[in-house]
């Protein structure tokens, strides 16, 4: 399940929700707002989300992860609105019977979320300037995945 929230992500509650008898472990990725990007001091980040399509595309990503790595449970929450340094901007949790599937599926979900969902971030810098992050460095992330199914099904 994916959701978009304009409030702080309740990371401890989410972690508890992932617990289930068949799960041998939980792999979590938390994306945090950091205080610099490309050598510029960042004061805060503003996320714009087109929620109707972000939810649809996000559910597709989670379904793909479950196809590639059977018997996992995957949850993602992404923030919208204004965030401060240290805030959690995105939370991805994947529980699985074994760690290998959990790590791989978690990596797959966060990489796809970053490059496919209609979400944009605007950096507000300490010097008063601001700018939209275009994520050019993310553009080829999908090509770096090791496909567990070379048949491409």
């Amino acid at each position: 399940m994916i959701s978009i929230s304009d409030k702080a992500i309740p990371v401890n509650e989410l972690r508890k929700q992932m617990a289930m008898p068949a799960a041998g472990g939980l792999c979590v990725f938390e994306g945090w707002v950091r205080n610099e990007n490309d050598g510029r001091e960042v004061q805060r980040l503003e996320y714009e989300v087109y929620e109707p399509l972000a939810l649809i595309e996000g559910e597709k990503v989670l379904a793909e992860a479950q196809d590639r790595f059977p018997h996992i449970e995957a949850v993602c929450v992404h923030r919208s609105g204004m965030l401060e340094i240290g805030d959690c901007a995105v939370w991805v949790g994947v529980s699985a019977a074994h760690r290998d599937e959990a790590f791989k599926a978690c990596r797959y979900v966060i990489d796809e979320i970053k490059t496919r969902l209609p979400i944009w971030k605007k950096e507000h810098y300490v010097d008063g300037d601001s700018g939209w992050v275009n994520c050019e460095r993310c553009a080829n992330v999908a090509d770096r995945h090791t496909d567990p199914d070379p048949e491409g099904s």
Binding site: L53, P118, I119, K122, W132
Partner: protein
């Protein structure tokens, strides 16, 4: 020339450049790419369409997808989630 009435929605940097989040235009457009190109003066994209994304009537689409009279075309600048 067959003009179509297309509602164009702009997001993030495109919206800021256009100064509006949506507008209804009369365009001589056959595809989503035509809409992107014919509204460049509005969204001001310096990125090629290949780096951007498009949706038609709230469904993700290809730049080669046809547009019809009355469609809403959503122009997404390069995304940056996470």
């Amino acid at each position: 020339m067959l003009m179509k009435t297309i509602t164009v929605r702009y997001f993030a940097v495109f919206r800021e450049h256009a100064g509006v989040s949506l507008e209804t235009l009369e365009l001589d457009a056959s595809t989503a790419m035509d809409v992107f190109e014919q509204t460049k003066g509005r969204h001001g994209s310096s990125e090629p369409a290949a780096h951007c994304k498009v949706a038609i009537n709230d469904v993700m689409a290809a730049w080669s997808s046809p547009v019809s009279d009355g469609d809403t075309v959503l122009l997404f600048p390069p995304v940056a989630g996470g």
